[in-house]
């Protein structure tokens, strides 16, 4: 049984809770995320998915409910400055706009920013920065100015800055939303690499279905509540339910579903990745050809 990393129970959050226009953003989320999982969190703009992310490292404080991250009860009153730093070291966060999260004017100094704040002493600080840059394949750009890099590269610098803090979990809050397709591929490759090679728990908050299909597990949040939770295949199989709340499924899933509706017999449950979709269609075509062959023969 893998180790429990995030545990929430009836987690609620309301913006401006005491104010006149209090808006509940999360209305009771209960879920468990285990160490080393690669989870995609799907939802519309305003569904509460980003709010959920911001609760995980206490950028926002839960209004009610329970929230435990890395064995630390975040709703306990004992959370002080020291605990907060420990939490944020464990749960790194990468944001949407790459320009707005780089602090320093030189790439390697930006990567060093997190460890510097943690007070990492000298020979180790240097090693951490070099290793993080190496892992993100940005060593060649160590002395560059961030504003001269491409969007994907900037985002990789931001990720390197988080990686240098050696977190157990990284939350990507729509980290690919402002990137072009090649930048998005760069970042997605990085996510997978961090998950596989470094065993880091990944939460990718996104509204791109194809990105979600790459994860091991998909969580759908709609209107502040949990709508679906399971493997991409399980979640996207509920196409009707997703459509009702205005979410689409990946194009290959859509294609398979339409083919089934048209009466073509396509068995199988691996419906969320393009490759398995192609295999299923080829197999179906093969069967179709065989049948046709028999008729004519």
């Amino acid at each position: 049984m893998p180790e429990l990393f995030i545990h929430t129970e009836d987690l609620c959050f309301t913006y401006d809770a005491e104010g006149p226009d209090a808006q509940p953003a999360l209305k009771g989320i209960t879920l468990d995320i285990y160490k080393g999982e690669y989870v995609a969190v799907l939802g519309h703009n305003g569904s509460g998915k980003s709010t959920f992310a911001k609760l995980l490292n206490l950028l926002l404080e839960p209004t009610s409910g329970r929230l435990t991250v890395a064995g630390m009860d975040l709703t306990a009153p004992s959370i002080g400055e020291k605990e907060l730093l420990e939490l944020r070291r464990n749960v790194g966060m990468v944001f949407q706009n790459p320009d707005n999260q780089l602090v320093a004017t030189i790439v390697e100094e930006d990567v060093a920013f997190g460890p510097e704040n943690l007070g990492i002493p000298h020979p180790e600080l240097r090693t951490r920065v070099d290793e993080a840059l190496e892992a993100l394949d940005m060593t060649a750009y160590a002395q560059h100015e961030p504003h001269r890099l491409s969007g994907g590269q900037k985002q990789r610098v931001a990720i390197a800055g988080i990686l240098a803090m050696m977190p157990k979990c990284i939350v990507f809050d729509e980290a690919t939303a402002m990137l072009d397709p090649s930048g998005r591929r760069e970042v997605l490759r990085t996510l997978r690499m961090l998950n596989r090679e470094f065993g880091i728990t990944i939460l990718n908050i996104t509204h791109y279905m194809n990105e979600a299909a790459e994860a091991d597990r998909v969580i759908v949040i709609n209107d502040g509540t949990l709508l679906a939770d399971g493997t991409p295949d399980e979640v996207f199989a509920q196409r009707q339910r997703l459509c009702e709340v205005g979410l689409e499924v990946p194009q290959c899933t859509e294609l398979l579903c339409r083919l089934r509706e048209a009466g073509i017999d396509i068995p199988g449950e691996r419906i969320s990745s393009a490759e398995s979709c192609a295999d299923l269609i080829v197999a179906a075509l093969g069967r179709h050809a065989e049948k046709g062959g028999k008729c004519h023969g």
């Binding site: 950028l59 944020r88 790194g92 460890p115 000298h122 504003h147």
Partner: protein
């Protein structure tokens, strides 16, 4: 617009570029003091000589240095004119019956003042702006001023603000460009009309720019919090500055130059500043 240079830094590999930025700040201050110590022709000659040595050491192109003098050209001309016509002395150069009287002392004073101002600009330029990146300069100032933390002056916070400002200059420049283009596409014009109209045309640029700058600031604050920023308490630094022997030698040379100038002033030879 992407290539907006940070400050006026001129990248090169000279002894002055390699010097510890803290040492350069100290040297710049000492050099300013020296320029004010100079009082007579001999010490001013030494000042000119030292300036030439600095130019050679800095590997900066002469063109760049002359260009740095352009903004102060007016001040130079203005002070020389004032000095030439206003200084009263013993050696009258113009015929006695002229209403405008120019004395030899006035000419010398004008020359000295021009040399002093030029050396001032040249010295700070060579030690600080041209051979030191703004970020290294910020860093040096933070470390040199860190004793002030004891009397509760937030030196680190100011340095951090400075760093972030430097980091966001190119980002905001690019943004301004984008907004201007967007407004141009809507028919705005920034280069025609009266001065007042042109100033008014800036409002639709400044407002979106401010809004976006504030949004960026909120984002950055979150990102910094996520990366455990909590002031300079217990903070280490990737870049460690080390004074080297050459830095010490440079400071000692500058000090001896100051002492030398001080004693040269006492020689009663040649014209001196009156």
């Amino acid at each position: 617009m992407k290539n907006v240079a940070f400050g006026q830094y001129y990248p090169a590999d000279s002894p002055l570029h390699r010097m510890d930025p803290r040492a350069k700040v100290i040297l710049a201050i000492l050099y300013i003091v020296c320029t004010f110590l100079c009082k007579n022709a001999i010490s001013f000659a030494c000042l000119v000589l030292s300036a030439l040595v600095l130019v050679v050491l800095s590997h900066l192109p002469l063109r760049l240095i002359l260009r740095s003098m352009r903004p102060i050209l007016f001040i130079i001309v203005f002070t020389s004119v004032i000095n030439i016509f206003m200084t009263k002395g013993e050696h009258l150069l113009t015929p006695a019956d002229w209403r405008i009287k120019i004395y030899a002392e006035g000419l010398w004073n004008a020359l000295f003042m021009v040399l002093r101002i030029s050396a001032l600009i040249l010295g700070t330029g060579i030690f600080l702006t041209y051979t030191t990146t703004p970020i290294a300069l910020t860093d040096a100032l933070e470390r040199l001023l860190s004793p002030l933390k004891k009397i509760k002056i937030p030196v680190h916070d100011f340095a951090m603000m400075m760093t972030i400002a430097l980091r966001f200059i190119p980002t905001l420049t690019e943004e301004t460009e984008k907004i201007m283009n967007a407004q141009r596409a809507r028919g705005a014009s920034f280069s025609t009309g009266s001065l007042i109209n042109r100033a008014k045309a800036l409002i639709p640029i400044l407002i979106p720019l401010f809004v976006s700058a504030f949004n960026r600031a909120f984002d950055l604050a979150s990102a910094m919090e996520c990366r455990c920023y909590h002031g300079d308490e217990g903070r280490t630094r990737l870049k460690v500055l080390h004074y080297r022997a050459s830095d010490l030698v440079a400071v000692l040379l500058m000090l001896s130059f100051g002492v030398g100038v001080f004693f040269l002033n006492r020689l009663g030879i040649g014209p001196h500043l009156s």
